[in-house]
Amino acid sequence: MSDTIVGHSGDVATPPGDPVDDARPAPGDEKMWTARLRGAAVRALPPSKLLPDRQPSYVASWVYIFGILSFASFIVILLSGVVLILRGPSWWHESQVGLFFNSIHLWSVELFFFFMVLHLWGKFFMAAWRGKRALTWMTGVVTFAISIGAAFTGYLSQQNFDSQWISTQAKDGLNSVGIGALFNVLNFGQMLLWHVLLLPIAVGVLIGVHLLLVRRRGVVPPLPERTGRHASTRPGSDPGVAPGSEGIDR
């Protein structure tokens, strides 16, 4: 199949790299997985949607920066974490520079949760799951939960009194539901590997999916100004109400 010549340069078909061409498989290529995947990806998120330079006029509040501040905090966590990885898990106990990078790592975690929770509050009060954005909300909640796990394994990896206490206490909760056998919080090697590889990847992937979903659906429009049971029975008389959408969280 791959040896069949499907065209020559100078053919009438649209030139390679043309956006119209990218969104659809070329004639004859419809069964190709690569072409279909590319087509689906480009149709869902063309470059102008992936990196838009315009936003709806209602995106005009400082509340909208909490998401990006959370993400920026995550980047600083990763960068400071990489420095700690470079010198190994005992470096910060032995070196002032190591302690300094450990401190950056700890404080960027505090900032991460600080802004993530504010982002959660904002999105809740905006009912941001409306308009088929439930998955955006849900990936956010899962990211929050997995982040707690990532922080937890970080605290377990400290190799100091705090990690001794946290591990010997947390084991009871995990053992009580049968998980402790597989996820042994007293096993430093296991916890460190979960912390530096598995959980950061999980959080990173979830954030990525979350961001793509936001770009795909766009920022949720404002709630109608006056809401409640009365407004929904008078479509059209209240210009702030969108008939058919009032009372329904889609």
Binding site: L51, D53, R54, P56, S57, V59, A72, I75, S80, L99, F100, I104, W107, S108, L111, F113, G122, F124, F125, M126, W129, R130, A134, W137, V141, A145, Q159, F161, D162, S163, Q164, W165, T168, D172, G173, N175, S176, V177, G178, I179, A181, L182, N184, L186, N187, F188, G189, Q190, L192, R217, V219, P221, L223, E225, T227, G240, A242, P243, S245, G247
Partner: protein, 341 residues
């Protein structure tokens, strides 16, 4: 066209656009919004703030408790714990899965369901052997009288062993310590007394730390055994109390010293402070609180689908503050005002 004026050409008016369903792509006015610049600015700001906080406050690093510190700091507690490891009555020895086989009545339950029991013994810990007898056999290689005591203990009947350990548990509560000597009140301790003294000496020199960690291999990264042993005593727990880290001190949220801890765990730890989790259900509190928090997390996850809960934002006026500029613009458009700001 200035950046503050919405880009109008080729789009619907604000009033028209807001009438469309929430899942329609926005067809109303748009403004320039530099996402990449916003991200870069956010990254620089967060990096600077994190570096500043690190420079000003640093981070906590309380030294870990070693068995050696425990044995030197509170030999009475060390011995009292060690004898319960030997006779199998310590918290670790009676824990059940995953450390030892389930005996009747052990393990936490959620109602009638005992997940802990189902897990099986995946992390086997035999406290008499792992924490006492095996380390002592190592020391006995260079200590014949200790070897004799061990032999006497091993060949005695179970009942005789229990009599000795029970007597020792009573006696050690009234023990006094002079240098390396353990002075017990009169009692029939048999070989248990020299065995415990031998273990205490190992602990005081640090060789018990090394021995428990290094088993079964040279390169250890699994601290299960020394941690379980230390946690069976009260030395670790006493330090935790002074640092407000106990379960009934909202400890899950706290950090050592004056550092901020994990404020996001407030709800998880709160349940431990209130009845019935702190009272009649306290034996199963871990399992019950874990289950409750998993359920509440599920509720948070499914907010978009829960009637009532998902409508709450409509009745709390925060959204009206967030989007007040938008509502003003909408009203101005309806009244034909040229001022769209």
């Amino acid at each position: 066209m200035s950046e503050s004026t919405p880009h109008m050409s080729g789009t619907r008016t604000l009033s028209e656009a807001v009438r469309l369903p929430d899942d329609s792509p926005w067809s109303g006015p748009k403004v320039r919004y530099d996402l990449v610049k916003e991200f870069v600015v956010a990254l620089v700001v967060i990096a600077l703030v994190a570096v500043a906080l690190a420079a000003i406050f640093s981070s906590p690093d309380e030294h870990p408790v070693t068995i050696r510190q425990w044995a030197q700091g509170d030999p009475g507690d060390f011995l009292a714990t060690s004898v319960t490891e030997l006779d199998g009555s310590s918290p670790t020895a009676t824990y059940g899965p995953p450390y030892n086989p389930w005996a009747s009545g052990e393990g936490q339950k959620i109602g009638p369901v005992g997940f802990q029991r189902w897990a099986g013994v995946h992390i086997p810990v035999n406290t008499p052997n792992d924490f006492v007898l095996a380390p002592l056999r190592v020391a006995a290689a260079s200590n014949p009288s200790l070897g004799a005591a061990l032999a006497q203990y091993s060949t005695a009947s179970g009942d005789q062993q229990q009599q000795w350990t029970t007597a020792y548990e009573k006696g050690v509560g009234h023990a006094s310590f002079h240098d390396t000597d353990v002075l017990l009140p009169p009692g029939r301790y048999g070989p248990v007394a020299p065995m415990m003294s031998g273990l205490l000496n190992m602990a005081r020199t640090g060789s018990l730390d090394a021995d428990l960690l290094a088993s079964p291999q040279f390169y250890g990264t699994d601290y299960t055994k020394p941690l379980l042993f230390i946690a069976d005593g009260s030395f670790l727990s006493a330090e935790a109390s002074t640092q407000h880290l106990q379960g009934d001190q909202w400890g899950m949220m706290n950090e050592t010293g004056n550092y901020p801890g994990q404020a996001w765990l407030w709800l998880y730890t709160m349940w431990y402070q209130v009845p019935p989790f702190s009272t009649s259900w306290s034996a199963n509190a871990d399992a019950l609180v874990w289950t409750l928090m998993m359920l509440l997390t599920l509720v948070l996850l499914l907010v978009p689908f829960i009637p009532g809960l998902r409508s709450l934002p409509r009745y709390v006026p925060v959204y009206r503050l967030i989007w007040r500029a938008h509502y003003r613009r909408l009203a101005a458009e309806r009244h034909g005002s040229p001022d769209l700001e």
